[in-house]
Amino acid sequence: MKQRLVCALLVLTACDPGIADTPDAQVYPPATRVFVAGALDHRIHVFDLETLEPVTSIAVPNGPTEVHATPDGSLVWVLTRDGAAVAIIDTATLTVRHQVQVGARPTHSFIDPSYERIWVGNDGSGDVSRIELADGAETRVLTGNGHKKMAIVTDQDGALRFVYVSNIADSTISVLDPAAALVTNVSVGLSPHGMDYSSLTGRVYNCSGDDENSVEVMSPDAAHAVVSRIPLPGRCGYIHVEPDGRTAFASIGTENLLARIDLEAETVETLRAGELPDKFEIVGERAFVANVTEPTVSVVDLRDPTAEPRSIEIGAAVVHGDHGHRGMRLFGDRVFVPNEADHTVSVIDVETEAVIATLDGIMGPSGIAIAGAGVGTTYPR
């Protein structure tokens, strides 16, 4: 679906229809590039998306980790966990336009529907930074303690209503109401971690652990209360609502499962994944799932829950004991997966399910962003 969306956008904007219609020809906007954060060499490595050749690298000190791009592709922002900063990079000049100080240990960030500001969860200082991308102006809101993920809640017009922030150490979700300058803390199940919002159901879905693992369903229209729980066979760490708002997928690391959740019926169907699945991308009727404790990406057939997933050999992630994380980024017909322990990035062709290239020269590859027109998070979703 994303591939179709991208091509549709390209046709509407920059693509030559004749080329775009040519079978087997993948066309990218001229400036579309891959940005990979090198957490250990303190650089952002830039690759040409088409040729996969290195373009340049940009110094971003203090351990750059997560990296994202604005939907128009003009800016990339990078979180530096050890530097308590966010670097905003101009993709036209490939230089750092703003270096913004935020709270301690920024780990996850989200752009809001204005596409002009981002929200950064600061795990170490228990707050959230709101940053204006144009000038780097930052304001900070105290939320709660611990690792943070967020869900952006929009109104029917796609405008920002609330920012939900999970505080994993406090077992709360802080709801930020930017219009009212109000923060409301809501008690949820133990250690909330992983959220997303469906504009179709108007609900926020939160991975939470308790005596029974579940996805907690929260209603922004009912004082942010947990209105129902969708039981899961294990604890989910990452949940993603599909663009149609009807379906969410969640990885259940300890059970090596991927859960497909019907958000309207609130029912769950589980599918086999690899060892400790983490991030994933949905491509049509397949899910590409990054595994942490084995050097593979699992390809899960969403049409057949009983089928064993196919494995694509990639490099190794960093594993701490029996846990860790691994990201993934889809663009067009390619999936990019960082191999943090091997200091490489595997590029997988989604059609052939084969590794077509391995990007190297990156120490500790962590986050990956694709910057180009029409790429990235858009609202409503």
């Binding site: 530097g83 308590a84 900063a85 100080q101 709270g103 301690a104 240990r105 795990d123 170490g124 200082s125 228990g126 105290l142 939320t143 709660g144 303690n145 611990g146 690792h147 505080n167 994993i168 150490a169 406090d170 077992s171 709360t172 923060v183 803390n185 008690s187 133990l190 250690s191 971690h193 652990g209 604890r235 760490g237 690391g253 300890t254 701490h320 029996d322 846990h323 860790g324 994380h325």
Partner: protein, 374 residues
């Protein structure tokens, strides 16, 4: 005078000892460990030289800290490993009878804390019989506080402290001393790292498998507030000490002190130490100390809201109700006429009856040092 000096050194307490320090040097290493996951290694080296009536000296010490204590983990911080370095320089004039006057400068550096300290001290015999001795010290310290996790964070604080001591020989082998100390601190005195949980929360060790959760999770949290302490603190401490020669080369030192400050903390401190010198220069010490503290007025086990205590909230267990008991064993062992070996062990049990996440803690500090006095 010599007897007075010996007894004062025996006290070796809060007011400065008046004996002219002997030139020489020392090298010490201390190891500290507690059952709250903190390890500290403290090397320390010092030297001192005589120039006419002057004694000049310098010292360097470091605290190498590795900690995953409850103070660290409940702040959602990672375990810390850091070092504190301290340099002291000191110069003093020691007259034969008129008294002494000394000044010292201290620089202490941590990744998130910087201290500059200046100390002036002096002592003088107050009567011709030299039965009375008075001493005073005046200290100033300026602190710059940063946060290693937030480069934008920088605060300052400053302290001025005055100490007065009056010692008197009460009889053969008996010395008493009274001390009075007062200080005022202004500026930032909270933690740069702490958020205080509000509401009727509960904390529990996390037993799940999410590495992002950390070792503790909490439930029932209704909100959070940045730790905030008053920016002015006035403190006072009065103490009395008694040193008694028991004969048979035994001496007993007893101390009692009372502390109070305008944050509402009041504390009492009782200590006794038995010293035995079975042969010349071999000194064995056995000490006991008990300490009890009432909490600061704004300290709470739980805060319903930050407004409950005028916006001042804390999660510092050292500001809550607290007791501690310490057993000390120490020995100074002569190696040759100019070199001795110092060994010391302190075992302490700390109790925090109002702190939900850590009711008690046990610590052991062991120090070994070589002292050279030619």
């Amino acid at each position: 005078m010599r007897r007075l000096v010996v007894l004062l050194v025996l006290l070796a307490g809060t007011a400065s000892a008046q004996e002219r320090p002997r030139p020489g040097g020392s090298l010490r290493v201390e190891g500290y460990a507690d059952d709250d996951s903190t390890l500290v290694l403290r090397p320390h080296v010092s030297g001192r030289a005589a120039v006419d009536e002057w004694i000049v000296g310098g010292a360097y010490g470091a605290d190498v800290v590795s900690s995953a204590s409850i103070d660290v983990v409940t702040r959602a911080s990672r375990p810390i490993e850091e070092a504190r370095h301290q340099i002291d320089v000191d110069a003093g004039w020691y007259g034969e009878r008129a008294g002494n006057l000394a000044a010292g400068y201290t620089l202490a550096l941590e990744p998130d804390f910087e201290t500059h300290g200046l100390t002036l001290r002096g002592g003088v015999d107050l009567d011709d019989e030299r039965m009375w001795h008075g001493s005073a010290n005046l200290a100033f310290a300026f602190n710059r506080i940063r946060a290693v996790v937030d480069p934008t964070f920088e605060r300052e604080s400053a302290t001025a402290q005055l100490g007065l001591a009056l010692a008197r020989i009460l009889g053969r082998g008996t010395l008493a001393r009274a001390t009075l100390e007062g200080s005022v601190t202004g500026g930032f005195q909270a933690s740069a790292y702490r958020n205080v949980r509000l509401g009727d929360w509960q904390g529990m060790p996390y037993e799940g498998d999410d590495p992002a959760a950390g070792p503790w999770v909490f439930s029932g949290v209704s909100g959070v507030a940045r730790e905030r302490h008053p920016e002015l603190r006035l403190r006072a401490r009065v103490g009395v000490e008694l040193a008694q020669d028991l004969g048979s080369m035994l001496a007993l030192v007893a101390r009692a002190a009372f502390y109070g400050d305008d944050w509402g903390i009041v504390a009492g401190d009782l200590a006794a130490e038995l010293r035995w010198e079975p042969e010349r220069a071999l000194l064995l010490r056995l000490g006991l100390r008990g300490y009890v503290q009432h909490h600061a007025w704004f300290w709470r086990q739980r805060y319903a809201s930050a407004d409950e205590t005028q916006g001042f909230v804390t999660d510092d267990k050292e500001l809550g109700p607290m007791r501690s008991y310490t057993l000390t064993l120490a020995a100074a062992i002569p190696i040759d006429p100019s070199v001795r070996l110092d060994v010391r062990a302190d075992g302490t049990r700390y109790e925090y009856p109002g702190f939900t996440l850590l009711f008690d803690k046990h610590a052991l500090a062991v120090q070994i040092g070589v002292v050279w006095t030619p």
